[in-house]
Symmetry: C2
Subunit: 371 residues, 2 copies
């Protein structure tokens, strides 16, 4: 009995459910096209803190709290957390998730961590190592600019190909069982009511709103380096890794892009999307019609001056939690390939003349109604 699929993928025999999710974002994200769907928006981007890194920690804390709240779970019901961010030594994660007092697997895959954390949490839950696990990622525009480029006070100019790091965090609760979905069953009843009026435990409720989104498979990605050396053009650095991961995924599962209603990359932006589509076309894979990118969904580049689009762990996590998961729950999307993308850039490696390699991890989200 094996769940290994193709060269580098996994099919889950017992696909874990996405029990709930929560997201928090900043003021600029709130003004964007999906702003009204974000669970919590700060009054300003400090989120009540004095320093940017602390603000980012707060984002993680609030996102997980919201996800737990929607599921009607206490923190201690989660067995493990998988989490990361973009900062050196994963600072936002260390200080943001401490108070939950849970065993933590700290991750670093740049912005692809949004996919890496979901993949590892899904592996853990599906294998029975945990009944419930959390995946949390974040980014913050100001802490990222300070970490990777220049402090905001320097007011450096940004070329148009530059992406805009999203101030936001997303948290996902994965479970082996389907109960406690968003704390409210699909009939629109609160959990208590549902149990009372329908005489069933919520986990057995067949109301139309019961959560049906599962992670059915993953394709963990490799580091791909096309020699990009421009720290302002993350889309170009990540597109080759996204192309390699998507191509490997389709081959491993013997699927064509049309299997998916949407193939959603993390934060390639307009420039990276163009490169991705062209690279895949060279392999005779056409994803143009079903592809979108979280970085293009979260901001309106023309109106908001966000260059090529949104980026950061928070970009993929917030857009998935706020926008695409609800679409899946409403039945507007049935099969999604979610491919968060990361640029393996550090200030030191960049200043020492190294390239900016990319990495991407693919996660298959499917609405499974008859399990």
């Amino acid at each position: 009995m094996t769940t290994q699929t193709g060269k580098q993928s996994i099919t889950f025999e017992k696909p874990p459910w996405i029990i709930s999710s929560g997201c928090v974002a900043g003021t600029k994200e709130a003004e964007g096209p999906i702003g009204h769907e974000i669970d919590l928006v700060g009054e300003d981007d400090n989120f009540g803190c004095d320093i940017w890194e602390e603000a980012e920690s707060t984002l993680q804390k609030e996102a997980l709290t919201i996800a737990l709240g929607k599921a009607g779970l206490k923190a201690e019901e989660l067995r493990y957390l998988f989490a990361g961010d973009l900062l050196g030594q994963s600072m936002a994660t260390s200080f943001g998730l401490q108070q939950f007092d849970l065993p933590l697997f700290g991750l670093y895959g740049a912005c692809s961590t949004a996919g890496e954390s979901l993949a590892l949490a899904a592996m853990t839950v599906s294998a029975g190592y945990a009944n419930l696990a959390g995946a949390v990622t974040s980014s913050h525009f100001a802490s990222a600019e300070k970490q990777f480029r220049f402090p905001l006070e320097y007011a450096n100019q940004r070329p148009l190909c530059t992406t805009w790091t999203v101030t936001g965090a997303g948290a996902f609760v994965l479970g082996r069982d389907r109960y406690k979905t968003e704390n409210r069953c699909k009939s629109g009843l609160e959990k208590e009511e549902c149990t009372k009026t329908q005489g069933v435990q919520q986990k057995e409720c067949k109301g139309e709103a019961c959560c049906d989104v599962c992670i059915t498979g993953i394709t963990p990605g490799k580091i791909v380096d096309y020699g990009v050396r421009d720290s302002m053009n993350m889309g170009a650095a990540m597109a080759p890794a996204a192309a390699a991961c998507i191509a490997a995924h389709l081959e491993d599962f013997s699927r064509s892009p049309s299997y998916y209603d949407k193939i959603i990359t993390g934060d390639l932006g307009a420039v990276g999307r163009e490169i991705l589509i062209e690279l895949l076309q060279q392999k005779n894979i056409d994803i143009g019609s079903c592809h979108t990118d979280c970085g293009l969904e979260i901001f309106d580049n023309e109106r908001q001056g966000t260059g090529s689009g949104g980026s950061g762990c928070g970009c993929a996590a917030v857009t998935m939690s706020a926008h695409f998961l609800p679409m899946m729950r409403r039945g507007e999307l049935k099969r999604v390939l979610f491919v968060p993308t990361g640029a393996l850039l550090s200030k030191i490696s960049f200043n020492e003349g190294e390239n900016v390699p990319g990495i991407a991890h693919a996660v298959v989200l499917e609405v499974l109604e008859n399990r």
Copy 2:
């Protein structure tokens, strides 16, 4: 059927084998008590590179190459890599493991990453997601000083409680099956010879040297913050997390410390060891007689001027690979609790006045002869 054990641990129903390991270290480590056991030692600590971060990448590359070589495996036979280091954005890992062209799960748990990577690789192999997986971690004295404290050229003074970051990397290959152990069977025969003269496949060889070391369980740890704010005293910052993890482990498995021949922490050093033992004594747990610390094994503090002892991901990984695994293979140790410890410190968080919280992950290594 569940493998969940106690509140936060996992027992592996099918314990993965440690098929092989490899380690590389610098000149100072070579002069230490276990120097003669290290697989490869550099002529100097540059390892043929111009910059420290590149040298650290080379350590990872060489360590994994050695581990693969000992097992007689090609890189492409590994399905996944789990790896990390101490540098911002896991620079050493990104640039060190790229050429293996393998799907990579990047990790960050400070020096505890040595345990985190083994834990996740073991979970992955035991669940059948991979037949073979690698766990790689590294640290480098010079890149770490530059990242966390001062450049070496500044020649800052070091208090005696300071630990000395090990220049080294360790790589472990975990497998579902026992074959290909160190490329040579326990009778001392090369694989080919063994098959020929004994008429058996190596995996069935009952010669005394067949690899018998398994990972039978893990206890992933929580972040613990006792308010330490001294970036020079990592032992004190990590000891509370190690104590919490060991106490949780013993409770989850209903074991006393005497179950283990050795409880081996990662890099607490002399100062951290003292705190660890006292903290556990307060919980009526006495590990004094069976405890040691990799940081105390790898250097002779008095002779080598290494303050409180060795530290870094490389400290735990190199000492396990070079010293303790061979002891297990020789039958001198049967049951080991390996607890790599990490200090969640970054230059930014420290300079902003944050504490230095700790984290530790426990991995149970056992010699299983009759599987």
